[in-house]
C-alpha cells in the first residue's frame, strides 16, 4: 500500500511540475501576478510529493519488501540498516528518484526563501525548474519506475552489489547530486534572465549563493567519490580519468568558472553574457554526465545496467534543454545591455583569464571523453584515451592557471598594478621555485610535472596567505588592532583565500604521489617487508564471519625503526548472495601520508599475496578539496551574499575598505 502511495505521489509531482512549468510563465507574459505566483506553492507541493515517494521507496527497502522489483534486485534481508537505506539510491531507478528529489528541493528553496526576488524573475525561475522536473519525472515514470511490483515475490533479495555496501554509497551520491543538480537552479536563473531579457548585478547577487552551494557540494562529492574509489578498489588509485569521473569534473570546471565570473558581474556589472553562457554550460555538463552514466554508451565502473530506451529518452531531454537554452541564448543575449569596462590588467582581466583556462580545460576533458566514442562510431576502431592525454592537456592548462591564481586575488578591480603585485608575490614565487628545483634535482629523470606542481602548490598557498597578510598588516600596529582588522575582513575574502589554499594543498598531495613507494610481495607470517620509510610485519591470517559476508583478515603491524606504530587489518570479503568478493584495504594514516595494504589470495599456509604502498601526503588531495568547500561555505556566510539581502551593509565593516 505504501509503495502505491509513493507511486501515486510521484505521478502527482509530475502533474504539479507541469503546472509549475506552464502557469507562471503564462502569468508573466500576461502580467497577471496571481498566475505568476502559482509556481511557489507548486514547487513546495512538488517537493513534498517527491519526498513522500522517496520515503515510500526507502520504507520498502528498510522493511525488505521483496514484492517490489527494485528492492528484490538490490537488497537483502541480512544487510545492515544503513546499507538497506543507502541501497535506495544504489541502483538506477532509486538514484533517479534521489536526483529529482534534490531538483525539487532546490525549487522549493527558491520558492520558500526567495522572498527578496523580483516577482517576474522568481516566476520564470520556477517555471524553468518546473520544466526540468517534469522531464525527469516523466523519464522515471515511463522508463524507470522504482515502484514496479514483482509477482510472485521472492523470499530473499539479490542483495546490493558488494562494492556498494560501503559508507561511501551513503555519502557520495547525495553530495554529488546536490552539486550536479544544484546547477539546475543556476541554469533556471540564466534561462529566466534570458526570457525576461533583463540582467543586472542584482541577478548576480541572487544567483551566487545557489551557485556556491552547488559548487561546494560538487567539490565534496567528487572528493568523496575519489576517496571511496581509493580505499575500495584495492590498488590505491584515486582518479582514473574514467568517462564518468570526467562527467563530474566538467560541470565542476564550468561551475568554478561561473562562481568566479558571477563575482565579476556582481561587483563590476561586467561579463554578463559570458556568465549566462557559463550557467547554461555548467548544467549542460551535468545533463551530459547523467546521459553518459545511464545510457550505456560508455563502459565504466559506474555504468548502470543499460537499457537503450532510457538512453534515447535522456538524449531527448539533453537535446531539448541544451538546445533550447542555447537557442534562447542566441536569440536574447545580443539584447542584453553591455556591462562595465575594465583594463586588461585588473582583477576582472585575471578572472577572464581564469575563465578562459577553465573552459579550455573543460573542453579538453570533453574531447578526451567523447573522442573514443566518436572514433568508434566513425571507423570502428576502439581506443582508450587515458591519463597521459589528460595530464598533457588538462594538467598543463591547470598548472598555468595555478600560476595566475595569486595574481587574480591580489590585483585591484578595474585597473591593477601588475608590478606591485608581482613584488608582493615575489617571496612566494621564490620559495616555490626553490622547492621545484630541489625536488627536480632529487627526482632526476623522474616525472617533470611533479616538481613543478609542488612548487606551484607552495606558491599558491603562500600567495593566498600574503594577500590576507597584506590586507591586515600595517607597520607598527599592535597585535590587537591587527586581530580586529583580520576579523573585520569580509568573510568572502577569507573564503576565497581558503579555497585557493585548498587548491594548493590538493596540488601538493597530487605532486607527492611521485614520491611514493610500491611493492608487491608474498608475505609470510612473521616476515617483515619494508615500504617507504616503514616496515610491515604480517602477524596473522584469520577467517572471520560478517553479517552477510565472510572474510579473510590479515593483521599486520607497521613499524618505524623497530617500534610498532600502528596495526592494520586488510581483508578480502566474500558475499555469498552474489558470489562476489571485494577487497578491503588496510590503511594507516601516518601524519598526512598513508600506508596502504591490500591482500590477494592465500597462496599457502601462512602466506598471502599483498600489495603495499607508501603514499606520502596523499590525504592532502582530499583535505584540499575540503578546504575549497569550506572556503566556498565561508563566502556563502558573508552577509552581503545572503539570499535577498537588499544591499551590501556598509556599517559593519571596519576600516578595511578604506585601506584597500
Amino acid at each position: 500500500m505504501i509503495v502505491e502511495i509513493g507511486h501515486y505521489a510521484l505521478t502527482l509531482a509530475l502533474a504539479l511540475a507541469l503546472v509549475q512549468a506552464i502557469v507562471p510563465l503564462w502569468g508573466t507574459l500576461r502580467g497577471d501576478e496571481g498566475l505568476a505566483s502559482v509556481g511557489q506553492s507548486c514547487a513546495l507541493g512538488q517537493f513534498a510529493a517527491i519526498a513522500l515517494a522517496f520515503g515510500a521507496l526507502a520504507q520498502a527497502h528498510l522493511a525488505s519488501d521483496f514484492s517490489v522489483l527494485n528492492v528484490a534486485e538490490n537488497s537483502h534481508s541480512a544487510a545492515p540498516a544503513i546499507y538497506k537505506f543507502s541501497g535506495v539510491w544504489g541502483n538506477h531507478e532509486g538514484s533517479m528518484l534521489l536526483w529529482v528529489l534534490i531538483l525539487a528541493f532546490f525549487g522549493a528553496l527558491v520558492a520558500g526563501l526567495g522572498r527578496g526576488l523580483p516577482l517576474i524573475l522568481r516566476a520564470n525561475v520556477l517555471a524553468v525548474q518546473g520544466f526540468i522536473s517534469a522531464a525527469f519525472l516523466a523519464f522515471i515514470l515511463l522508463t524507470s519506475n522504482p515502484f514496479a511490483r514483482l509477482s510472485p515475490a521472492p523470499f530473499e533479495g539479490r542483495d546490493l552489489n558488494p562494492v556498494l555496501q560501503d559508507l561511501g554509497l551513503a555519502i557520495h551520491p547525495p553530495l554529488l547530486y546536490l552539486g550536479y543538480v544544484g546547477f539546475s537552479i543556476v541554469f533556471s536563473f540564466a534561462a529566466a534572465a534570458l526570457i525576461e531579457g533583463r540582467i543586472d548585478a542584482a541577478w548576480a547577487r541572487f544567483v551566487r549563493p545557489f551557485a556556491l552551494v552547488a559548487w561546494c557540494f560538487l567539490t565534496l562529492g567528487i572528493a568523496m567519490g575519489s576517496y571511496w574509489a581509493y580505499y575500495t578498489l584495492g590498488w590505491g588509485g584515486f582518479w582514473f580519468w574514467d568517462p564518468v569521473e570526467n562527467a563530474s569534473l566538467m560541470p565542476w570546471l564550468a561551475g568554478t568558472a561561473f562562481v568566479h565570473s558571477v563575482a565579476v558581474m556582481e561587483k563590476r556589472d561586467a561579463l554578463k553574457v559570458w556568465t549566462i553562457f557559463l550557467a547554461i554550460l555548467a548544467f549542460s555538463f551535468s545533463l551530459l554526465g547523467t546521459f553518459l552514466v545511464r545510457s550505456g554508451v560508455l563502459t565504466s565502473v559506474h555504468a548502470f545496467a543499460s537499457d537503450p530506451s532510457r538512453g534515447v529518452f535522456i538524449l531527448a531531454i539533453l537535446a531539448l534543454f541544451i538546445g533550447g537554452a542555447l537557442a534562447l541564448f542566441a536569440w536574447r543575449a545580443p539584447m542584453l545591455k553591455r556591462g562595465g569596462l575594465f583594463a586588461p590588467i585588473s582583477r576582472e582581466g585575471a578572472l577572464v583569464l581564469n575563465n578562459l583556462l577553465l573552459t579550455t580545460t573543460c573542453a579538453g576533458v570533453l574531447i578526451g571523453t567523447l573522442y573514443p566514442l566518436a572514433l568508434e562510431q566513425l571507423t570502428g576502431e576502439k581506443i582508450t584515451v587515458g591519463a597521459p592525454f589528460f595530464n598533457m592537456t588538462c594538467g598543463v592548462l591547470l598548472l598555468i592557471l595555478c600560476l595566475v591564481v595569486p595574481f587574480g586575488q591580489s590585483l585591484a578591480w578595474k585597473r591593477g598594478d601588475l608590478l606591485g603585485v608581482a613584488q608582493r608575490l615575489s617571496l612566494a614565487a621564490a620559495v616555490g621555485l626553490c622547492l621545484a628545483v630541489a625536488l627536480f634535482a632529487m627526482l632526476r629523470g623522474g616525472p617533470v610535472l611533479a616538481p613543478i606542481a609542488a612548487g606551484l602548490a607552495v606558491y599558491i598557498i603562500l600567495g593566498s596567505l600574503s594577500e590576507i597578510a597584506a590586507r591586515v598588516w600595517r607597520r607598527g600596529a599592535p597585535i590587537g588592532v591587527l586581530l580586529s582588522r583580520a576579523l573585520g575582513l569580509p568573510l568572502s575574502a577569507w573564503g576565497s583565500a581558503l579555497a585557493h589554499i585548498g587548491v594548493g594543498v590538493t596540488l601538493l598531495g597530487l605532486a607527492a604521489t611521485a614520491f611514493g613507494a610500491e611493492t608487491i610481495a608474498s608475505m609470510h607470517v612473521g616476515e617483515a617487508q619494508s615500504v617507504g620509510p616503514y616496515q610491515v610485519v604480517l602477524s596473522s591470517i584469520a577467517a572471520r564471519p560478517g553479517p552477510n559476508y565472510s572474510e579473510v583478515v590479515a593483521t599486520a603491524d607497521i613499524r618505524w625503526g623497530g617500534a610498532v606504530v600502528t596495526t592494520v587489518e586488510p581483508a578480502k570479503r566474500f558475499f555469498a548472495a552474489r558470489q562476489m568478493s571485494t577487497t578491503q584495504a588496510g590503511i594507516a594514516t601516518l601524519w598526512f601520508g598513508q600506508l596502504y595494504i591490500s591482500i590477494g589470495d592465500q597462496t599457502g599456509n601462512g602466506i598471502i599475496a599483498a600489495r603495499l604502498y607508501w603514499k606520502p601526503l596523499v590525504t592532502f588531495i582530499w583535505l584540499g578539496a575540503c578546504l575549497m568547500a569550506l572556503g566556498g561555505a565561508l563566502s556563502l556566510a558573508d552577509r552581503r551574499l545572503r539570499i535577498g539581502a537588499p544591499a551590501p551593509a556598509r556599517t559593519a565593516s571596519p576600516p578595511v575598505a578604506a585601506a584597500r
Binding site: A305, L341, F389, M392, T393, G600, T603
Partner: protein, 148 residues
C-alpha cells in the same frame, strides 16, 4: 584603451589559449592513445612487437598458472585465436576463468603479451562491452548467453 582595443586584446588572448590547448591536445592524441583489439585482430593486423595495446576476450578455461612473486600467466581467447598473457601483480577480485577480461600492456611478440594492468568488471551480470563486441565479430556470441 578603447572598448574596441580591449575587446581585441581579449579575443587575442582567448585565441592564443585555445590554439595552445588545441596543439597540446593534438600532440597528446597522436602520442598517448591505446588501441583495443580482440585476440583475432591482434594476429590479423600484424602489430609490431613493442606496441602498447589493450586486449579483451575471455580467460581460457584451465589456462591460469600462478607462480611465485605474484606472477600469473593466462590465455585470452575469443574461442578462435589465443594470446598468451603474463602479468605480475594481484589479479582483480572478479578475475575468473571463462569470464571476460581486459588486459593493458605491451605486445612482446605475435601472440605473446605482457600486461601491466588487468581489468575484470564489478558485476557478475556484466561483461565488458568491448569483449562482447570482439566476440560478436568472431561470430562466437550467442544472444541470451549472458546479459551484457
Amino acid at each position: 584603451m578603447t572598448r574596441k582595443g580591449r575587446r581585441l586584446t581579449l579575443i587575442g588572448v582567448a585565441l592564443a589559449i585555445v590554439a595552445f590547448a588545441a596543439g597540446l591536445a593534438l600532440y597528446a592524441l597522436s602520442d598517448s592513445i591505446v588501441f583495443f583489439y580482440g585476440p583475432s585482430e591482434v594476429l590479423q593486423k600484424n602489430i609490431a612487437p613493442g606496441t602498447r595495446l589493450r586486449i579483451g576476450g575471455l580467460v581460457k578455461a584451465g589456462s591460469l598458472v600462478k607462480s611465485e612473486e605474484q606472477k600469473a600467466a593466462f590465455t585470452i581467447t575469443d574461442n578462435a585465436n589465443n594470446v598468451a598473457v603474463t602479468y605480475q601483480g594481484l589479479l582483480p577480485d572478479l578475475f575468473r576463468e571463462g569470464q571476460g577480461v581486459i588486459a593493458e600492456g605491451v605486445l612482446e611478440a605475435p601472440g605473446r603479451f605482457r600486461a601491466d594492468s588487468v581489468l575484470a568488471k564489478h558485476d557478475e551480470r556484466y561483461m565488458p562491452r568491448e569483449v562482447v563486441d570482439a566476440l560478436k565479430k568472431q561470430g562466437r556470441w550467442q544472444e541470451g548467453e549472458s546479459k551484457p
